[in-house]
Symmetry: C2
Subunit: 411 residues, 2 copies
């Protein structure tokens, strides 16, 4: 069995750990999270790593460098998924990292090597993304404890039910001086590598993202008895907004998505009195992103004015664009050169990644693996075995290149 | 205590029977339905009626006419509600009917008098309206047994859990020869009586209604990684449709409402791959209604074409416009004349009512009671005590006028 075959077989094993019988859904602090951590922990142990689950529910495996207690190079990605997910977003990076640790188990390194399977990157359960990696980065916000899932369970309760002590979440935070850097392998989730016929690519910067919870309030009234001139239909207003968001983001060159909508009371014969929607906004730079939001907000307010609706916009996520560190990115490029003569392709990542949270505490770089037709967050997500094999080779050699560069930097 | 005070106090009592602690929600075949039937049954008994729950879960109270076994004049409305309902839609009509039966308990009548509290008019639980009154009208459709509520419970299961035998639902059906007619009192649920400064009005015809379940299918993909030209966003498509439905119905003089929308997978960072919505369409005549649907469907298909989406439209309800019988309506008008000299106002009902189902088996007529600001299907639903008092007087005298007309018709 090749390493790529092993990694892909493990992706399939993780596939089976799902809250749904019909699709893959594995979210933060659920029973499925516990099972996935246990499985990943076993694989880490088989790769010669010392395993522990940290205070935020991340599963971590570590081996020491040439001297115990040296700062660590982190390799990681996440084990949680969106609902109806594919098999590779997140998981592939964790399993490639474990495979690299296995390959290098007897290679002396000038740093500790640590693999992390992050507990929450997608934010599918509590609406707030990157909870696992933000705990590691030490950017945890005490306000998050009151976030609730769809069943009304707070993050605080969920920690307790998972067997974690909320008061100790700070123990998951790493100090900058204990870290060398962070490398993450991930499927591209976009069509650009495939279009360029490239197996791998490196990331230049990760898009800045903002997320909002938008509540549109009108008035619930009888669907038959209420003439149009008396209606304050929250759903028609929200619909006009969704169409406007697409138009404005397209024009601004940003990417905006409304992924959720819920209306109340939600009866076939009642005019919706309220609509709650999510807005996810991304751009290559923070400036573009923020200008785009200003334009969108102005238009949403205009629609509300016209329809006598109220808009409440709450920002639930604000991640500045995270540029990758040049010295680590050069190691990634060196890794890709192991099997490719052409100049590797650099991309900005439209998708958010754990790396953007970790950037708050250490240097980051990312390796992208080509995926089929840019499809992600969907069961049709697919990678080619040859790309995974190339990716593992490149990631392994990137770690060795970081070792050389690290020694050079130490002087 | 005046009769109106009693009726309003009983409305408040029914208010407390709710599936929700924060709002009024009482749907078909739930524990709340059982309690409401028991309470209404008690009040019927106090009014001198013989009470039974029929094979479809309707609560019925009957007194014989001058000879036992005469055909019956039915008075009724419904006891179920939408989610977050007001206190009067349906319930007021049942309680006014009970009050009238009480007032006439010692008055000899040339027909049996029967009060019915229908089990389901709103269709809030199974998406299909008028289940109670259609059982009485003998227009039950065996396909309905497979309808499911949000928890996946079929109507068949719900019957069994409520203690009803699905095989015996036909026993709730009345024969035309056993009936004299059907009178229903109801709040207007529109602003027209209030605008005309009128306490009561009569209904000329009940709007024809059609309801559809619309499924828009696109492709779920990653919100960050998928450029606009690759998106097949089911929610943006559905939103464009919702805006178009409003525009087209307004132009056609019909009334169309999208009261429900659900998207899948419903995650903040995933492009919706599917949106399911309800469409409720009403017009004064069946022709106008059907022409309006044809226009809407054409536009929805055009939007799908443009956005590479698929549309599946399933009709879930089709009720032809139901004209009120002239001889019964004259009795209602005579009733209103008891306290009002002016010519009573006739309206077409934009809202559906049990009467439209009952029209399949006997003549119908309706009395409308003014409501505040046309608000209905909302906790702010309100009636004036004086209008309820006038309504009970008018309804009582309408029954007596039907008695005279009935005798005259018998020759």
């Amino acid at each position: 069995m090749t390493t790529a075959e092993l990694v892909l077989a493990r992706c399939s094993e993780l596939d089976a750990i799902s809250a749904s019988e019909t699709w893959l859904e594995r979210t933060h602090l659920t029973p499925e999270h516990r099972v996935a951590n246990a499985l990943a922990g076993n694989w880490m142990r088989e790769a010669g790593l010392q395993v522990h689950q940290d205070a935020a529910g991340n599963i971590c495996g570590r081996r020491e460098g040439s001297t115990p207690g040296l700062p660590a190079l982190l390799l990681g990605s996440h084990l949680d998924t969106v609902p109806d997910a594919g098999s590779f977003d997140g998981m592939l990076g964790v399993l490639m990292a474990i495979a690299v640790a296995e390959r290098l188990r007897d290679t002396p390194l000038p740093f500790a090597l640590e693999v992390i399977g992050f507990s929450d990157e997608e934010g599918s359960r509590f609406g707030k993304a990157l909870l696992g990696s933000q705990a590691v980065a030490g950017t945890w916000d005490e306000d998050w404890w009151d976030l609730r899932d769809r069943d009304g369970i707070t993050l605080h309760q969920a920690f307790l039910e998972f067997g974690l002590d909320p008061r100790r979440v700070g123990e998951a935070a790493r100090r900058p001086e204990d870290l060398v850097g962070y490398l993450e392998a991930h499927i591209e989730q976009g069509p650009y590598l495939e279009a360029a016929d490239a197996s791998l690519g490196y990331v230049t910067t990760i898009a800045g993202a903002r997320r909002f919870r938008l509540s549109v309030t009108g008035e619930a009234r009888h669907a038959g008895g209420t003439p149009y001139e008396r209606r304050r239909d929250a759903l028609v207003g929200a619909s006009e907004m969704i169409v406007a968001v697409e138009r404005l983001a397209k024009a601004a060159g940003t990417i905006a998505t409304v992924g959720r909508i819920e209306v109340q009371p939600g009866a076939v014969n009642v005019i919706p009195g309220r609509a709650d929607l999510s807005l996810d906004l991304r751009a290559a730079t923070d400036d573009e992103r923020d200008r785009s939001w200003q334009e969108i907000e102005r238009e949403l307010l205009r629609i509300c004015e016209e329809r006598d609706l109220r808009l409440d916009a709450v920002e639930t996520h604000n991640a500045p664009a995270a540029p990758c560190a040049r010295w680590l990115t050069e190691a990634i490029i060196e890794g890709i050169h192991v099997f490719a003569d052409d100049e590797p392709m650099g991309l900005w990542s439209r998708a958010g990644h754990d790396a953007m949270a970790v950037a708050a505490v250490t240097d980051i770089a990312m390796l992208f693996v080509r995926c089929h037709d840019g499809i992600s967050h969907h069961p049709d997500e697919a990678v080619r075995e040859v790309d995974v094999e190339n990716g593992i080779d490149a990631f392994e050699h990137a770690v060795l290149a970081v070792a050389s560069a690290h020694l050079a930097r130490l002087g």
